[in-house]
């Protein structure tokens, strides 16, 4: 067989060293003689025969020492994680004894053209004090003009949170003095909010890692959603100067108040994340937390599970009874801050109570990165808001037809979309990827992905094997590959059109190009190559040919000649597992995807004059 190796076949491997065929033959004959003899020890299953696998007896204590050290390190790390979580005692012990209760209040800026009580325009970063109506600046004699259009995003948000829209609602004044509150009161809905009694359900896919801390879905009640005014923007000029811009005054906000039914900081964080996603999905808000368009306040209390001391647990909030005294932590600017602040406050309260202290009902703040919350307002600064129905504003009456229309034209919400995306019969994505896809680029990425899949399904309409892979593959290309390219650029569905990406993926699926080639092609298209993928492949001759048998033999031969020591290991010392190493080498040397491992091994065994894999296996069984 070796003699049949033509010189031309060798040409590709001309740079490889020449193997002395005579030496090879001599080695092989020794090998074959060994095989002919009844099963020598070295042919037995590798696990017992391989010397270098089992540790030498003398090394046993060392190995044990290594294992022990590794275990200790693991425990230490867990301990550290726990202590950053909980300075005095393990978190498991604490949660056995104490139950945490959290309620969340979210303020979100609505996506509207005009303000809530004046027809001045909403804005984000315009020249200061250029979008201010007389009423926004609380000039004497000015009166509120309720802008009814602001109800549209508010109603959508409330409907997406499963609330009951109230037929009648009204506005109240909440009084307090602060430099960002020009009228000395904020107009809000304290007594009669426009939406009540909703809920939000967190599914495993809403949690990091796709695991719900409570085992299954968690449903959190929403007490109400109310509309209210935003305040002025303040720019601090230390030490004590505040510059005020009233553009933001009376920008419509909704406040979403959950029931105190959250018992885990991770659930709280997921709840905020999901509410934000829902608000964006129904176009109710423009900016998320990172842009300052959404802010969260949390109410935290703890109580002993065994209710040994029920005197401390007689508080009731929003109808939920038997709770401990709560504190409020205001203006948390990120989802991580929500989680960290709750953990810090929970621990502070537990420590305080365990030392015999009492939790004061107060308002606290939290800075990202710190370990504790700090007090903002104490008892003497307690504010009585003196809520008074605003006598100038007529009650808001919402028609059933409007509610019905908004309900029926609601976009698909993330839970339904994710369910569809993770369904193995439909798209088969992981929960994590589905979750990412839903929020990326306000849903534009998802729309693009769905189009790519649709095109691929048309291309492979008869090929069931390919069809089953299309969802996942497209997911990888849209999220990972394109994702990497768009890292610093704003998303555009036109940069690489869905049909072009589909074409690329189809080529890979058909093994016409290697994965590596496809990635390069994608980058090329991203950088502006206007030629269709098909054309580029032809122009640059990127089509994969599978290797011919001769090419396999030539490559194998080359390899064996190079690595004569390994060959000796196999043939003389019987280390047959090293054939696999040769297979790996062949795959590495060949263009990606061109070397089939099965064929490679078969050829190698042939050249090494080893029995084919099947036969060797059967022999071992005996």
């Amino acid at each position: 067989m070796l003699n049949q190796l033509s010189r031309t076949g060798h040409a590709t491997f001309a740079r490889r060293p020449y193997i002395c065929q005579e030496c090879l033959r001599r080695l092989q004959s020794r090998h074959i003689r060994s095989i002919a003899s009844p099963a020598p020890a070295w042919i037995r299953p590798l696990s017992t025969a391989s010397d270098d696998r089992t540790p030498p007896k003398e090394d046993a204590p060392f190995r044990k020492a290594l294992k022990d050290a590794a275990k200790k390190k693991r425990l230490e790390n867990r301990g550290k994680a726990q202590s950053s979580d909980n300075p005095s005692g393990s978190s498991e012990f604490k949660s056995e004894k104490w139950e945490l209760t959290v309620g969340i209040e979210i303020h979100a800026e609505l996506n509207t053209a005009r303000k809530l009580f004046s027809s001045a325009a909403t804005s984000v970063n315009d020249t200061p004090n250029t979008h201010v109506a007389l009423f926004d600046a609380a000039f004497p004699g000015s009166q509120p003009h309720f802008q009814r259009e602001t109800l549209i995003p508010a109603l959508r948000a409330a409907l997406a949170l499963n609330c009951e829209i109230q037929h009648r609602s009204s506005f109240d004044r909440k009084h307090y003095f602060y430099q960002d509150q020009p009228a000395g009161y904020q107009i809000t809905q304290y007594y009669e909010p426009f939406a009540r009694d909703g809920h939000i359900t967190l599914y495993p896919h809403d949690f990091p890692g796709g695991v719900s801390p409570e085992g299954g879905p968690v449903t959190i009640g929403i007490k109400q959603v109310q509309m209210e005014q935003d305040t002025a923007k303040t720019i601090q000029q230390p030490p004590s100067t505040h510059l005020l811009d009233f553009n933001r005054v009376s920008h419509p906000l909704i406040e979403i108040i959950t029931l105190p039914q959250i018992h885990n900081p991770v659930v709280a964080a997921a709840c905020v994340r999901k509410i934000q996603a829902i608000l964006k999905a129904v176009d109710a808000v423009t900016a998320g937390m990172e842009m300052g368009g959404l802010r969260a306040d949390v109410n935290v209390s703890v109580r002993r599970r065994d209710s040994a001391d029920s005197s401390q647990q007689s508080h009731s909030y929003h109808g939920v009874t038997g709770l401990g005294q709560r504190t409020e932590i205001k203006n948390l600017p990120s989802i991580k801050a929500v989680e960290d602040a709750i953990i810090a406050e929970r621990d502070r309260q537990i420590d305080l109570l365990e030392r015999g202290g009492i939790v004061d009902g107060e308002t606290r703040g939290f800075t990202q990165g710190s370990k504790t919350t700090r007090r903002l307002r104490g008892k003497e600064g307690e504010i009585d808001y003196r809520y008074m129905p605003d006598p100038d504003i007529a009650p808001v009456v919402v028609g059933k037809d409007l509610v019905q229309h908004l309900k029926s034209s609601m976009p698909l919400l993330s839970d339904d979309v994710i369910e569809m995306l993770v369904d193995p019969k439909r798209y088969g994505l992981t929960a994590k990827d589905a979750g990412t896809l839903v929020v990326l680029d306000d849903g534009d990425r998802l729309d693009y992905y769905l189009e790519v899949v649709e095109i691929l399904r048309r291309i492979f309409s008869e090929d069931f094997a390919a069809l089953s892979r299309v969802g996942k593959m497209a997911g990888n290309w849209v999220l990972m590959e394109l994702g990497a390219l768009f890292k610093t650029t704003q998303w555009s569905a036109d940069r690489v059109s869905p049909s072009e990406l589909a074409s690329l993926i189809a080529h890979v699926l058909r093994k016409q190009i290697t994965g590596r080639t496809a990635k390069l092609l994608l980058a090329q298209k991203f950088d502006g190559d206007a030629r269709p993928v098909d054309q580029i492949i032809v122009d640059e001759d990127l089509l994969l040919r599978p290797l011919s048998r001769d090419e396999y033999l030539a490559m194998a031969q080359q390899l064996l000649e190079e690595k004569s020591d390994v060959v000796r290991d196999i043939v003389e010392k019987g280390k047959h597992q090293k054939v696999k190493w040769f297979v790996g080498q062949m795959m590495a040397r060949g263009a990606e995807g061109t070397v089939e491992p099965g064929t490679a091994e078969e050829v190698l065994r042939l050249l090494l004059q080893l029995p084919p894999m099947e036969e060797q296996r059967q022999q071992m069984k005996k």
């Binding site: 007389l134 000015s142 009166q143 009161y185």
Partner: protein, 483 residues
């Protein structure tokens, strides 16, 4: 008399009566005269019925060409960037704004003595200094002394009717929501009503007609559809006049009681019938008012902090030891205003809310019900049925109520200046109920033959069902002998 002559007379009176302190700021004389001179002489009918007339405006109504101070130190240098709707409407009807009249600070007071710019003075024929009534005392005195042909005031608990009664002029408070409040500095939003003071009901009507329109800028302005349901096209004559016995209080001055009886008898002689009525909630109306008005006031005055407008105290606005804005507000607000803000804050505070504020709103509903129980016309705000349909019920109620405007004639100024703050509240006992129910009410000076010539007359009040402004003015005219 030509318009120019009239105008010159007004201006002359303004100089003559400067010491009465009726005005805080006066329009430039030259410009007034030139504007009046431009009015074509034949304008007696048509939309410009106020052409060339000098009309004074209470200084809590915004004008952009004259300062608007609300009688307060905190706005002493303030010029509004815009005009109130009523000011625009007067100008559109051809009127000339004579100036801004003095008042109790932010409308809080019954004698126009709580003003940063000094008290308003009212003198009788003997030269004695009397109270001008409040809070629209400046407007009333300006009209009474011929410094203008009519004046705008605001009536929250009687602030147009009481000064009218004390100065012997006509003071009209329309039904709530008919005249726009856009540009009227709020004291108590649910009670504030722009009113008119004039020497005759006819003059009053001319001004009111220029203002009685829906204004989309004012969210409490009655809708056109509601307005169409108001009033009655024809009221059956003779009228049924109601005598509210609950207004016969023990401290009613004998002269006032006599005038009341005189007025009722005069109406009877004209053919109308008299009927006693009971309005038991009247006894609680005053207390309810002094909970509701200061509460709304404490809210409305929270905007005065000196940041965007107004006088600001020197130094920082807040320190760790002082409350933010307290220095500016303490400096800028007078004592009576601060007293009412405190009372208001109390009524709205969490512990007091139900017992005071909400209870007062319930009393307010009872007052409204009382009135609805005596008027033959149904309240158009509570029922869509037109009063015509209720024709068959006629005979079951009265058309209007006639009663005194105030328990006493104008008291001496010296006495009220040092009065206990709470004592002053009692002057409003007859005016407050109509305010709480938002009903139209006019005060007209009624002279008894015996006292004719020796006094300005005693103010008698006519109160009608909501929307019956026309009828109320008709009866007012009859009482004055005009009709």
């Amino acid at each position: 008399m030509s318009l120019s002559t009239l105008a010159k007379e007004c201006i002359a009176n303004q100089s003559k009566y400067t010491s009465l302190n009726a005005f805080i700021s006066l329009a430039d004389r030259a410009s007034i005269l030139s504007r009046v001179a431009k009015v074509p002489p034949s304008r007696n009918h048509g939309p410009d019925r106020l052409s060339g007339q000098l009309i004074a405006v209470k200084d809590n109504i915004c004008t952009s060409d004259l300062p608007t101070t609300a009688g307060s130190g905190i706005l002493k240098n303030f010029t509004s960037p815009y005009d109130a709707t009523v000011v625009k409407q007067l100008r559109d009807a051809g009127a000339v704004i004579a100036g801004k009249t003095n008042l109790d600070e932010f409308g809080m007071g019954s004698h126009s003595v709580h003003s940063f710019f000094g008290p308003v003075k009212n003198t009788n024929a003997r030269g004695e200094e009397l109270s001008a009534g409040g809070s629209s005392g400046g407007s009333a005195v300006a009209v009474a002394t011929g410094q203008c042909t009519a004046a705008l005031g605001t009536d929250t608990g009687g602030s147009v009717r009481l000064p009218a009664a004390y100065t012997g002029v006509v003071g009209f408070k329309p039904s709530y929501g008919l005249v726009s409040r856009w540009g009227v500095i709020a004291y108590a939003n649910s009670l504030d009503t722009v009113g008119v003071l004039a020497k005759s009901v006819a003059q009053m009507r001319r001004v009111f007609d220029a203002l009685n329109f829906h204004d989309p800028q004012d969210p409490t302005s009655l809708l056109p559809s509601t307005r169409r349901r108001l009033g009655r096209p024809v009221t059956q004559r003779p009228l049924r006049i109601g005598i509210p016995l609950d207004y016969n209080i023990s401290s009613l001055d004998p002269t006032v009681r006599k005038t009341w009886m005189h007025a009722l008898k005069a109406l009877q002689q004209k053919g109308h019938t008299l009927h006693t009525v009971n309005l038991p909630a009247t006894r609680h109306a005053l207390s309810a008012y002094y909970i509701l008005a200061p509460a709304e006031a404490s809210s409305n005055l929270a905007k005065y902090d000196g940041v965007r407008y107004g006088s600001r105290a020197e130094g920082p606005d807040g320190t760790p030891d002082s409350v933010l804005f307290a220095k500016t507000r303490g400096r800028g607000f007078g004592d009576e205003v601060q007293r009412r803000i405190l009372l208001g804050a109390f009524s709205l505070s969490a512990q007091a809310m139900d017992n005071y504020f909400i209870q007062a709103q319930k009393i307010r509903r009872l007052v409204q019900r009382d009135f609805d129980g005596v008027f033959s016309a149904r309240n158009p705000l509570l029922t869509s049925a037109s009063s015509e349909a209720e024709g068959h019920r006629e005979g079951a109620g009265v058309d209007v109520l006639v009663c005194p405007t105030a328990p006493t004639p104008a008291p001496e100024l010296a006495k009220v200046k040092n009065q206990d703050p709470v004592d002053a509240y009692m002057n409003d006992v007859f005016t407050v109920p109509a305010s709480l129910a938002g009903l139209p009410a006019v005060s007209v000076p009624v002279k008894m033959r015996e006292t004719q010539g020796s006094g300005a007359g005693i103010g008698m009040q006519v109160i009608g069902q909501f929307g019956d402004d026309g009828l109320v003015l008709d009866v007012g005219e009859e009482l004055m002998g005009e009709g």
